[in-house]
Each structure stands twice: as C-alpha cells, then as structure tokens.
Symmetry: C2
Subunit: 354 residues, 2 copies
C-alpha cells in the first residue's frame, strides 16, 4: 500500500476539504472565507474579464496569506458555425416568441476564456499556490509557466483514462470528479456521458491507477462523506454544492430557492446551457428539450441564445431557462457563513474518525 | 448518533458482505458458496419456475445451515397491450429481417413472477432467514406471511422517498441502491431515471432519513469500498458485479468476455431488455435504439421480442442483443471461487480498518 500524503502536507491546509471553484456562482469572498477557515478556497477564473480577475486576485491576496486555488478552463475556443447556430436558434424559436426576443439581435453570451499567456501574465505576479484546470491541461509552455511559479497543478479526471493522461501530462494532483458532482463535467478525452460514473466507482479506480494524490469530488456533503472519501484513498474531498447557500455565495435568489425545493433532488447532466455536459436541477428548458441535445453549438457558444432567454425569464421571476447547477446531494447546503460550514464539517469529520 | 447494529447481529454472518441476487446470472451454487464463506448469499427467485425454485431451495438448504437471502420481485404483472406490442416489434423490424425472424411467431419471453401466495406456499416449509424484495414490497397479507416465518425483510430503495416508504410499510432492512449498481433499478415510486443518484449521495441521505439498518449497494468492488460504505453509515455492503466472473456464476461466455473488455467501463441504464431501467454494458441494441426508449412495452413484456433477437445473435457468437448487466465498477471481477473472492475482500477490509 502506498504511504499516503496528507492534505496538510500537500496543500498546507488544516482540513482535508477543498471548495470547488464554481464559475458564475461565487467570487473571491467565498475563496477567502474557506481558506481562512482552514480549507482550500477556490476562485473560478474562467468567466472573469482581465480587469475583474486582476481585482479579485488583488483583493484576495491582500486579505489572506493562506493557500488558495485558482481555477481555469482549458478548452479549445470554437469557431462559430453559422449553420449550427441558426439551426439551434430555430429550434428555440417558440421560446423567443414567448419572450418577444429577436433571435437575430442577441448579444454575445457569457465569455469563457481558456487559460492563455495573457491570463498567465496577469496571474504571474500573484504566484498562486494552487492552480487547477478543468477540461484537461493547457499546452506545455503554459504549464511550464505555472510550474515555474511553484504552483501545485490540479486537474479533473472523470475516467481512469483521463486520470492516467493527466498524470502523464504534468498534473500534480488529480481531482476524481464522480458523476454526482454539480456543474460542468471535466471530461476531455470522450464526449459520451455513459463514461461518467459515480464517485464510489471512480475514486478507488483512479487511486489504484495513478501514483499522484487524488482529491474526491461528487456527492460529498458532510463529514461522513469526507471520511468515506479518505477511506477510499483520497487525500481530501472537494465540495461545491454544499457552499451554494453560504453567505458568501453569489447565486441568484431563484437559484437559492431552487436548491431548497424537494425538486432539487432531481438533477440531470445537460449540455443546453453551454454546449458541454453539466449537472443542474431539472427545469423547464431541460424537460422540454431533453437535457442532452445534439443540436447545441460547441462549448461555450450554446450559452449565447440561452442566456437571452434566461435573462428575460428571470426578469419575470422564473428559473425556467436558468442553469441551476447542483450536485446529486444538496443536503449539505446551509444558509450560514462558509467558515461556520467548515467548522461543522470538521466537527462531523472528527466524530467519524474517532 | 444512533448506536449501529452490526452485520453479525443483524444477519448472523461473519462478514459485512451481501451478495446481490442476480436473476438470470446465477443459481444456488453462488448463494451457497457466499453463505458458507461468511457472507450472505442471495438467491434470485423471480425468474424461476415453481419446480426449479423448489429444487434450488432443497439443494441449498441440504447443504448449509448458514443464513441466506431469497429475492423476489413485487411488480404488478401487466396486461398485454397489443397496440404497444405491435409498435414495439415494428420498431425492431430491421433486426428481425437481419436474423430471419418472423415477429409474429415469437414465443413468450422470460417469465418474471411477482411474489404471490403460490410462491409463498412453496417457500414456507424452508423458513428462509432473509427475504428481499425489488420494486417495492408485496401486499400486506403476503408480507405478514413472510414475517410469520421469522424472516428478516429487506427491500431496495433508490431514493430517500422510497426508503421512507419501505420503512413505513414493513421492511426490516433498507438496501440503498446507488445508480452505479448493475442490473435492474429497484425504483418503484417514480419512473424518472433522473431521480437515481450515486451511492455517495444516496447512502448518507437514507441513513439519516430512516431508523432501519441500511445496506449499501452500487459501485462497491473491494475492501476499501466496503469500509467506505460502513463509514457512510451502512451496516453492510452488497456486491453483485464482483461475483459475475466467479466459478459459481452462470453467465454466458459472451457476458464473461464483455466484462473483461475495456468497454465494460461504459454502461448505461436501459429499459430495452425488460421494460424497466437496468444497468448494463452498452452494446449495439442500446447504441442504436438509445438505451432508454419510450416505445417499450410494460415490464417484463419488452423482453419477449428482444429475447428472440438475443437467441439468434448469440447463436452467431454476438452479444449485440444480450443484456450485459454490469455495474459501473467491474474492477472487482475475478475468475476465482466465490469463497476466495470473499476471503480477499475480508482481508482488504481488515487492512482498511486497521
């Protein structure tokens, strides 16, 4: 049996708990709160403009000397396929009529930048202690830069193959993202969602397949879950959904409401909101279009048309077209400060380990 | 915190390991081997004729005084919907032509009897120590009979609601069946497969929601998995897939081969083979029809047409139309005697608990 490194040794944190960076759902306030409370806070950077990213980093680093994790996407930006875009918008025509939206006048959707040298230039002065990637890893020259900062490089694997690929291509830590997890699947070697398996199946297989330390994500919502993840060989657990109702979260009140309904138990993987599969609470758009559509433009272009509908619907108080990201276990969601949630998790965990 | 009963106290077995009863994949030889080796062997009875069931029970009970588990289905037998059946067969017409099958001449498919008084009459003399049900629970008068034998009654829950329903309706033990599990989903309060969640999400929620002891199923393939399930509050773990390559398993060589291919990692929930969702390795039929179809006749009637195709294809050495039941974690499958597998699991588990 491998002698296992601890979260304290690996990340220099007190608790074996990472907070999932959740693009669009949080800013550095949550990162700060989690890191200060002894976990590893995560800052999602993929949807931030250069200016906002700079500000967030300055704000965060002025307030803590604890480790934190910057998260970036590393997809290949798509070129617009006009034909696909037209067909996609045509398939949504009834909705555009319902909300009086001219599909030809929709402004560009939410930007999702992959990690690149401009972003690296901006981040470099901050020398972040941990940098994580979703959808694979950036090109070697970019990864070299990150390594040059002394940053620990984490990346998400949704299959054993992806974990082995990440190990062979320069990751320092693997995040095993079980299918229970909310938000975007990190999958990058395959597009078939049948390859996506539960944490109970994925985590021990990845732990066995790689030498690197493995962080468990997906379906973990309390101390017992964290303890079980450690038992399955993880060095730490990453929780996202559990933080969505915390004071420092920035989700809409519609999203907050949705998380507190019994229907929050019914989630699905959907590619409607961005073009890539992500787990969210089933809502009208997902029900009517089927959560997975072959018509969606490439990531992240699908978001443009849907964002227009989302805005119009949200103005009417409806989340019918909103991405209500959530994992399969919302029982950990609490309307408290993130530090308080961390304290409760730590207490539960220590009860489990006795 | 609840003081938790142990598997030894509850089932009078040495190891906290149950073997999932797998209809069509095994007979009492596997049950016997597992029970004699200190686990709780399971005998699937739903597809056995009265004569075979009687023989199997006589064979088993003559050979062991250890506890064992008899598993029954408790679905409502459907009435044939001619229109639905015709439409279903029409949608498979190209396959029937390919195999030269006259769709009007297909004999009745595999029988799947729900538990009833005739079956109870037959079982009663054996006074089985444990009886488990899939798809809910039988009617109160039937359940009274089973309780009258002193049998412990187990039933599968795939959601928190189902667990609470089973507790309120007379189960003694809940099996929390995570979505990773192979074979038929035990779901009975809902037909929406988006309600089906991973073991990491389901198990702790059910443990919290009910007072009854909970057995964990789905994605568990080794000692670490069993230990993690216990950590999450289970009294024991139930493993099915791990036993499929054991000497005492009765699956076809095509099924054995499929389990040993890398493609065994790609499974899906499908209703094509029976009319109810069940997890199996993705094969040609599932790929071409989509694993979940709205056209399937009611359980178990869908099996009739597919079984004809399966037989014809299998005669040609193809598993294109075979239900290749498997969970999301086939890494526990070993070509050994079941007793040897149990020994290995016990050893791993004791290593985990040190």
């Amino acid at each position: 049996m491998k002698t296992r490194i601890t979260a304290r040794e690996l990340f220099a944190i007190d608790l074996p708990i990472l907070q999932s960076p959740m693009a669009g759902a949080q800013d550095a306030a949550l990162t700060l709160a989690v890191s200060e409370a002894g976990g590893l806070g995560g800052l999602p950077c993929a949807m931030l403009s250069a200016e906002v990213l700079q500000k967030q980093l300055a704000w965060l680093t002025a307030r803590t000397s604890k480790p934190y994790n910057l998260n970036f996407f590393c997809h290949t930006p798509p070129t617009v396929n006009e034909q696909k875009e037209v067909a996609w918008r045509a398939s949504l025509a009834a909705y555009f009529r319902e909300f009086n939206i001219d599909p030809l006048q929709i402004p560009p959707g939410p930007q999702r930048q992959p990690f690149n040298h401009e972003v690296a230039d901006l981040v470099e002065p901050f020398q972040p202690p941990v940098v994580s990637f979703h959808f694979g890893l950036p090109e070697a020259d970019l990864l070299d830069r990150v390594n040059g900062w002394g940053a620990l490089v984490m990346a998400s694997a949704t299959t054993v193959e992806e974990a082995c690929w990440l190990e062979a291509n320069g990751a320092d830590v693997i995040i095993a993202q079980g299918v229970e997890a909310g938000g975007h699947r990190g999958m990058f070697l395959d597009t078939d969602i049948n390859t996506q398996v539960g944490t109970f199946a994925l985590l021990p297989q990845i732990v066995r397949a790689v030498q690197l330390p493995v962080v468990a994500a997906g379906g973990i919502a309390d101390g017992a879950g964290i303890a079980a993840a450690l038992q399955l060989g993880a060095v730490a657990a990453q929780l996202g959904t559990a933080f969505l109702l915390c004071n420092e979260s920035r989700i809409s009140s519609l999203h907050q409401d949705a998380l507190q309904q019994p229907t929050a138990q019914i989630t699905a993987l959907t590619n409607l909101f961005s073009g890539r599969p992500a787990r969210g609470i089933v809502n009208r758009l997902m029900r009517e279009q089927g959560p997975m559509s072959r018509r969606v433009p490439q990531f992240p272009l699908a978001g443009t048309a849907i964002t227009a509908l989302r805005k119009a619907a949200e103005q009417q108080g409806s989340s019918d077209f909103s991405p209500l990201w959530a994992g399969q276990n919302v029982t950990g969601c609490k309307k408290v400060a993130a530090a308080e949630l961390l304290r409760e998790l730590a207490q539960q965990l220590s009860g489990q380990q006795q």
